[in-house]
Symmetry: C2
Subunit: 336 residues, 2 copies
């Protein structure tokens, strides 16, 4: 390891955290399922494929416009399971709560988790609650793990992008990242922007109902669209070309990014997906996504090319092109 | 709710935390699987039964004689799955690390997790690493969730204890609790006691190989043997009678409990199980447990009776009897 101490960058989802995973986790837990490094693991139980995923939520603040740490934790794991091609069915919930946390806030969070589970059609079937002394955790952290059944015929994975695939993005980017950012202490201004946290599993079901040529699904959370596309380009050993003017972006979000110097391509989304779809099916998948309430602003933002394998290149609005690299580290800690 | 703020007691595994679960979690996540409140959920996938369990580990200190937070987190979830009758196969690992945490310590912890997974015969197939700014978490917390297949014919649950069942305890109690306690800042004295953290799944396999009359399995972690027995008595609507002099207890542990005023019946164990077994099979199960390296000190500590349903009564060493109640709250926070 290049470092003596763990940095925020090690949890960013960017290059530094990939290196930590490769240098420490893969050797320690050496097995072929983990080595695939998808959003979740795909397990076989007597011929049935089950997607299994876990995520810890440490978002600060815990309440923000459009959601709170509770529905974020449910939707996030529902989406990770869905991005493996799984139909999410069961979730676990692990709460770590700081002593002195207001019971009323916990009721709000847990209540919202229950409603989010209901919307996604999943059951929270097991859980654990730990309370730690004041100062040992900041308010509340939540882990959710999820299980879903992968229907026969569904085969999605980060390494399956192929030249010719169209890249569908289900809506505007950076809404969650900017919402949390503007709520942070010292940066609070009333932007009117809200988090996009939402369950995407029903959308995915609808997509598979019209196409069996969906090759990659990914929800661009930590690290945003830029990081997710880089991972896919690398694992598929394919080039990715995207078009800046096709990428849906709220005007307010664009303005705040400009003002604060953030690139929306690297900001977190919590209710968006990227789908890599064979060209022949891409129109129908796109219109299917657009009919879903969480996909109204969906667009084809690019394509997979045989040039520059492993690289993501963006045609900019002003007619140039630039490489969209993977960030080394963290733009915003505790974004989810 | 009776309280405005969350107390350490809400995470104790005792009465107050049971009330929180009943008042808040069950209504929010209303479903029949969660309502069974076993160590894990039992899920059906096309006729196959899968045990699914989750636990967050916040132990302080993170290194202690006999183990560290890493092998504790692996063994703990392996055991929870095993206590559902499941053969643990797959684990997820969610790390929440404080910025500045020494990389070398993380390597030790993750390495030990890998070795613990190897010993238990499980694969860590998916994970998540979050790094939070200094002060937002104390060093490192770990969540593990686990999956295991329940073999046909295995039926264990807290409500299945029946009058006549013998209660087998697989070894000495309170070792983990006393170890962590004596390591705590200000209480550090060299006791020679070590944590009992260990995987119990192979022991459980061996037990099922000799008996199909094991009705209840439980690892008495937070809250100890006293709390676990109370839960079983309550759910089975049966009386439990135990014999103080039959309960295995290290001399050093007994001495420290005496000195500090802790009751070993309520201290955490991390490598012990309670098994409720039909009388006819109890001798064979006991000798099977004793042949396992983690069960050498196993003993029959009591029996299920038709008197005093829902209550645990202990015949004391001096010939009296006392009710072993469930504690209201927390003896020791961050014990696991």
């Amino acid at each position: 390891m290049k470092y003596d101490k763990i940095l925020l960058d090690h949890g960013s989802g960017g290059k530094v955290s990939h290196n930590l995973t490769a240098a420490m986790m893969l050797p320690a837990f050496d097995n072929p399922i983990l080595a695939q490094l998808n959003d979740g693991a795909i397990l076989e139980f007597d011929g049935q494929r089950i997607a299994f995923s876990t995520d810890s939520y440490t978002v600060d603040p815990i309440f923000f416009p459009g959601g709170n740490i509770g529905d974020l934790a449910i939707n996030g794991t529902v989406n990770d399971v869905a991005m493996c091609g799984g139909q999410p069915l069961y979730l676990s919930v692990g709460l770590i709560i700081e002593e002195g946390f207001p019971v009323r806030d916990l009721e709000t969070i847990v209540g919202e988790m229950g409603r989010a589970a209901g919307r996604a059609g999943v059951s929270v079937v097991t859980g654990d609650t730990k309370v730690v002394p004041k100062g040992a955790v900041d308010k509340i952290f939540i882990n959710t793990s999820g299980l879903g059944l992968i229907p026969p015929g569904v085969e999605v994975a980060s390494h399956r992008a192929r030249p010719g695939d169209r890249i569908i993005l289900s809506g505007t980017i950076a809404d969650h990242g900017i919402t949390v950012l503007t709520q942070r202490e010292g940066l609070s201004f009333d932007s009117g922007v809200t988090s996009d946290t939402a369950p995407l599993n029903h959308m995915v079901d609808q997509m598979f109902a019209v196409s069996n040529a969906i090759h990659v699904l990914r929800d661009p959370t930590r690290g945003g669209v830029g990081t997710a596309l880089n991972e896919i380009a690398e694992k598929s050993a394919a080039g990715i070309r995207i078009f800046e003017e096709q990428i849906p972006l709220h005007k307010e979000v664009a303005a705040i990014c400009e003002l604060l110097g953030f690139d929306p391509l690297y900001l977190a989304n919590e209710g968006k997906l990227l789908a890599f779809v064979a060209e022949a099916d891409s129109d129908e998948v796109l219109s299917t996504v657009r009919r879903n309430p969480f996909g109204r602003d969906a667009a084809v933002i690019g394509e997979v090319v045989s040039e520059h394998p492993g690289r993501v290149v963006m045609e900019t609005r002003i007619g140039g092109s630039r490489i969209v690299d993977m960030l080394a580290g963290e733009q915003l800690p505790r974004i989810c």
